[in-house]
Every structure is written in structure tokens, then in C-alpha cells.
């Protein structure tokens, strides 16, 4: 039972970070109908940014989120304005390829600068744990990152539901043409949405940097994970991505314990295919377009 609780709790904690990645992807898809294949690479850029800030300025990775978030927002806005904006009406495969190309550029530029060596960001609490009782212990960095994730997610919900800009973004996601007719600047909303998506991915990268290896090709895994999460939750649904992230986190940690860590990703992909086949609109999705 202790093992079960242990894997459930660590699954939920890592699921919080997955949720952040998924929400970013789903926001971008919702507003632009573009699947961002560079999502994991954006996360990787966030990781390296955190690494630089940590080694050069000595700022703790969890504090440096305050710097990473706005920087990644600008980076995302730039990507949208310069590249993605030009292919909004292009064929789906061209949009996909463009983002794949951008991802390749990011990961290989980072490789040229930092080489492909694995980097480790060691903090004083990297391997410390907190006893919860009942033989269950929680990794300290995972717990802190979960708390930060929850705060960011809550702030994001507030932003999307209560502020004018947030409502404009949701309107754009619902119907781009109608939103434009209502006087919403859809181009600016797209830039904000991509910026937010990139900022969330970058923040997720910052949050996992104390517990993950940092290397230029790390993004691929997270891109695939982000897809699984968003499809599971329903493309474009923020609530769905939150739930999907936690669900994938728990599935992963459960299958690592009860099946084997080598097969855990296979199980996640099989789950993904099953959802695509039997409920392609996802847990929270309403329509498929």
C-alpha cells in the first residue's frame, strides 16, 4: 500500500509539471490551430536558460522562474511574429514541418554552444526528501515545483477567465473570424498565446532542471508527452490539459513501479492511441476540427 501511495503521489507531483507543458501546447493549438512540434525544444531552451542563470548568477532555479517566464514569453512572441504567423493559412503539414524545423534549429544551436554533454544542475535540496508518514516520502524539489506549478496554473485560469485579454484569447480560440469582426486584434492575441505557451513550457523546463539531465536533445521526449497530454485532455481545452498532465504523470509512475521503467513510455503511447481511436475529442474536448 505504501508503494502504491508513493507512486501515486510522485505521479501527481510530476503530473503538475506535465500539465504546465500540456496547457502551453493546448493554448497554442486552441488559438492558432497549429500543432507546435517545437514545444519540447522550447522547454529545453528554458532548461538551459535556468542553467545559465544558476551557474553565472547563482540564482536558485525556482527563483529564476521570475526571469525565465518573461524571457520565454518574449521568445515565443518572437517565434509567432516572425515564423508561425506566415503559415496560419497554410497546409497542416507545412505548419508541422515549420515547427519541426524551428525545433531542429533550437536544439542544434544549443548543441553548438554547449556541446551535447549532459549537464546537471545540483542544488542543496536536489536529492532531499520529506517524510509524509505511512512510509511515504516526497522529493523536495518535486514538491516545490508542484506548488509553483499550481500557483501558475491558478494564475493562468484567472487570467483566461477574468481579464479582458484572457477573454479575447478565448474568443479567438472559439472563432477566429467572429473574434476579428468583434474588433479583437487576433494577430496580437496569437502572439500573446504563443508567448504564453512558450513561457509555460520554459517554466516547466526551469522547474524540472534540478531533477533532470540537461542536454540539447531532451526536448523530443517532452514534445511527444505534450501531445499525449493535450490529446488526452482534448485539443484546445485548458482544463483537459491540466487533468491530462496529472493522469499521464500517474500512469507513468504507476507503470514504472508495476510493469517496468523500460515499458512505461510504451504504455503511455498505447493509452494515447486508444484515446485517439475511441474518444478522439479527448476527456474535455467538445468538437474536433
Amino acid at each position: 500500500m505504501a508503494v502504491f501511495m508513493q507512486s501515486l503521489i510522485s505521479g501527481i507531483l510530476i503530473g503538475g509539471v506535465y500539465a504546465l507543458i500540456g496547457i502551453g501546447l493546448t493554448l497554442i493549438f486552441g488559438v492558432m490551430r497549429v500543432i507546435n512540434f517545437a514545444h519540447g525544444d522550447i522547454l529545453m531552451v528554458g532548461m538551459y536558460l535556468t542553467y545559465i542563470i544558476f551557474t553565472m548568477l547563482g540564482i536558485d532555479p525556482f527563483v529564476s522562474v521570475l526571469i525565465t517566464f518573461p524571457l520565454m514569453f518574449l521568445f515565443g512572441g518572437f517565434l509567432q511574429k516572425v515564423f508561425i504567423n506566415r503559415v496560419l493559412n497554410a497546409l497542416a503539414q507545412n505548419q508541422i514541418l515549420l515547427t519541426i524545423g524551428l525545433g531542429l534549429i533550437m536544439s542544434n544551436t544549443v548543441m553548438l554552444i554547449f556541446t551535447s554533454d549532459y549537464k546537471i544542475l545540483t542544488t542543496s535540496y536536489s536529492s532531499s526528501t520529506i517524510q509524509v508518514g505511512g512510509g511515504v516520502s516526497v522529493s523536495t524539489p518535486l514538491l516545490i515545483s508542484f506548488l509553483i506549478t499550481s500557483a501558475i496554473t491558478a494564475a493562468l485560469y484567472w487570467f483566461l477567465l477574468k481579464t479582458d485579454t484572457g477573454q479575447a484569447i478565448r474568443a479567438t480560440a472559439q472563432d477566429r473570424d467572429a473574434a476579428q469582426l468583434m474588433g479583437i486584434n487576433v494577430k496580437r492575441m496569437s502572439i500573446i498565446a504563443f508567448g504564453l505557451g512558450a513561457a509555460l513550457a520554459g517554466t516547466a523546463g526551469a522547474l524540472i532542471s534540478p531533477t533532470y539531465y540537461i542536454f540539447p536533445q531532451v526536448g523530443g521526449v517532452f514534445t511527444l508527452k505534450a501531445f499525449v497530454i493535450t490529446v488526452l485532455g482534448g485539443m484546445g481545452s485548458v482544463v483537459g490539459a491540466t487533468l491530462g498532465g496529472i493522469l499521464i504523470g500517474v500512469t507513468e509512475s504507476m507503470s514504472a513501479v508495476y510493469v517496468s521503467s523500460g515499458w512505461k513510455d510504451v504504455i503511455v503511447f498505447v493509452l494515447f492511441l486508444l484515446v485517439l481511436l475511441f474518444k478522439p475529442s479527448g476527456l474535455m474536448g467538445k468538437s474536433r476540427t
Binding site: F83, Q93, I105, M235, F269, L273, L276, L277
Partner: protein
């Protein structure tokens, strides 16, 4: 009419030239480059049938490439079955895999199809890593000893040089381009294109969508698996990331996109651009050339940086190429050339 005859003569002349090359060139490096080029054309052209003509943009073609490569190599390594027999096992297995993948993925459209195709290829890659008893896991399979090829007791070739590989590659290229030509000029090809242009309209005209999508997939998968088997035997080594990785799928797609999808010569053109370019980067030719012209001195900081790093940068170049092609010539090089030709004609009038 004259035009088609001219075209046929040109193609025959090029083919004759290609057949004669090993007679006059004995540099193994030059033959190696040609073999890489053949492989690239095969990969791009096979994808073209499904992606270019039938409009199903699979980003999971590594699945077929890897299954072909692995089956041939596994049979050769563990059962000592010659690759020209093993390749048929690879084809049979790939047909089964393709039909399974088709039955899953073709229920989905657009982005969902793309994601499903990636997921299936990833499942195969992870399985190849985990099924260590069958595939030797992440270490891969090394099998460089090829049995001599005999016909009725007489040894035709013992694969000691690159020449037999050159001719096998050339034969396979002619085969893939030939199949694509036949597809393009048959009813089948028109059905594929109808599905690509408007699936619902094609369906309402009585074209069985799932049947023709599956035919396109099986054709494409079998040719891709041939390319994979050829790769395996030629290189003598396969492991999960190099034959089943997502990079392989992207590379297969790239050849076609850069050249021009849905055109017979697009993948050829794409390969003619991509293969020499990535080879030039990999072997540091560009840095040497820059030094020779005198643009960069070999002792300067930039010179040293380029020399050390440019060889790793060929993937970066892929990335930049994709972005440029998608933004400025979305129909690939073929589309770009056609556009230029059209403009010229208009100006002449």
C-alpha cells in the same frame, strides 16, 4: 509527342551514364556518395506515394524503414539467412505492420493522423530497445559479413567492393521511381490524388477511402522497408535511434518536401540538394573551402570554431532549410522551378 520522346531519351541517357559510372570511377568515396544518394531517393520517393500523392502525411515512416532493416539484419545475424531472402521476410512483416497501422491511423484525419503515426513508430522504437533477446536492445545489431551471392554455383559477387551495392541501389531507385511513375499514370494515382484534394468529395464519388489509403500505405511501406533493408546491409549495423528514431521519419519527409511533394522528380531533386550538402558539412569541406578562398584564416577564432563545430551542424542546416523552404517555396524546389518557368513563358509572350 516530341517532348515525351526527348524526355525518354534523356532518362535513358542518364540511366546509361549511371550504369557506366563504376567502370570509370573507382574511388570508393565517390561510389559511397552515390549509394547514399540512391538511398535518399528511395526513402523520399516511397514517402511521396503516401504523403505526396495520397496526401496522408505520415511522420512515422521510420517504422517501416526500421522493421525492414531490423528483420533483414536479425535473420542474417542469428539465423544466417542471406539478406536477399531475408528482405522478403522484411517485406511480409512490413505489410502486416502497415495494415495494422493503417487500421488504426486512417480512422483519423489531419493533425490526429500525424500524431498517431508518430506514436506507432515510437512504440516500435521503444519495443526494439526493450525486447533485448530479439533485437539486442539499445546496443543494436552488427553484421558486416555478407555471404557471396551465387547463381547456380557461380559466384556473381562477394560484396568485397562498393560496386555491387552501387548496382543494387541503382536497381532499387529505378524500381521506386518506376512504381511512382506507374502510380502517377494509372487510375490508382488519380484515386490517390482525389483523396488528397478532397476526401469527402472522393468518397461521394464512390472511391473507397480506406481501401485506397491502405493501398498507398502498403506500397509506400514496402518500398521504405526495401530502403531500410538496403541501409542495414550496406552499413552493417542497425540500432533503435538510427533506423527507428523520429529523426529518420523527419528526414524521409524532408527529402520529399524540399524537392516537391506529389511530383515524380521532387524526391530526386531533394536528394541531390540534401545529400551533398550534409556530406559537405559532415566532412568539414565547407570550412576547408572557406580557408582556401581566404575568407577565414585557419588560426583565427572563427576558423577554429567552424572546424570543430560545423561538422555537427548538418542537422542545424536541415532545420534552416526546412524553415526557408516552407516560408518561401511551400511547393518545394520543383514547384519553385515550375513557377519560374511559367513566369518566363509569360514574359516571352
Amino acid at each position: 509527342m516530341d517532348k515525351t520522346i526527348l524526355k525518354a531519351i534523356a532518362i535513358l541517357a542518364v540511366l546509361g551514364g549511371l550504369l557506366a559510372i563504376p567502370r570509370f570511377v573507382d574511388s570508393p568515396y565517390a561510389l559511397h556518395m552515390m549509394i547514399l544518394l540512391f538511398m535518399s531517393v528511395m526513402m523520399g520517393q516511397s514517402w511521396n506515394i503516401l504523403g505526396g500523392y495520397a496526401g496522408q502525411h505520415s511522420v512515422g515512416h521510420a517504422a517501416y524503414f526500421g522493421v525492414g532493416a531490423y528483420t533483414t539484419m536479425m535473420l542474417m545475424h542469428t539465423k544466417q539467412i542471406a539478406p536477399w531472402i531475408g528482405v522478403w521476410a522484411g517485406i511480409a512483416l512490413v505489410v502486416v505492420v502497415a495494415l495494422i497501422i493503417g487500421s488504426i491511423c486512417f480512422r483519423l484525419r489531419g493533425p490526429y493522423f500525424v500524431l498517431a503515426s508518430i506514436a506507432v513508430a515510437e512504440i516500435l522504437r521503444l519495443s526494439a530497445i526493450n525486447l533485448t533477446t530479439l533485437t539486442n536492445g539499445a546496443e543494436g545489431i552488427l553484421a558486416t559479413e555478407l555471404p557471396p551471392f551465387k547463381v547456380g554455383g557461380a559466384i556473381i559477387t562477394d560484396f568485397a567492393t562498393k560496386v555491387p551495392f552501387y548496382y543494387i541501389g541503382l536497381f532499387l531507385v529505378v524500381l521506386t521511381v518506376g512504381v511512382t511513375y506507374l502510380v502517377q499514370h494509372s487510375k490508382l494515382g488519380y484515386f490517390f490524388q482525389a483523396i488528397r484534394e478532397d476526401q469527402d468529395a472522393a468518397h461521394s464519388l464512390g472511391i473507397s477511402i480506406s481501401l485506397y489509403k491502405n493501398i498507398a500505405l502498403v506500397l509506400s511501406a514496402v518500398l521504405t522497408s526495401l530502403a531500410g533493408s538496403f541501409y542495414g546491409i550496406y552499413v552493417g549495423f542497425v540500432d533503435p535511434p538510427t533506423v527507428l528514431g523520429l529523426d529518420v521519419s523527419v528526414q524521409i519527409m524532408l527529402i520529399c518536401i524540399i524537392g516537391g511533394m506529389g511530383t515524380l522528380w521532387g524526391p530526386v531533386l531533394g536528394s541531390l540538394v540534401l545529400v551533398p550538402l550534409s556530406e559537405a558539412l559532415r566532412s568539414n569541406m565547407i570550412t576547408e573551402a572557406l580557408v582556401k578562398i581566404g575568407l577565414v584564416s585557419p588560426e583565427s577564432k572563427i576558423g577554429i570554431f567552424l572546424k570543430e563545430n560545423l561538422s555537427h551542424a548538418h542537422v542545424l542546416l536541415y532545420g534552416i532549410l526546412v524553415v526557408v523552404v516552407i516560408l518561401f517555396m511551400p511547393d518545394g524546389l520543383m514547384g519553385f522551378i515550375k513557377k519560374l518557368a511559367k513566369r518566363r513563358k509569360q514574359e516571352a509572350v
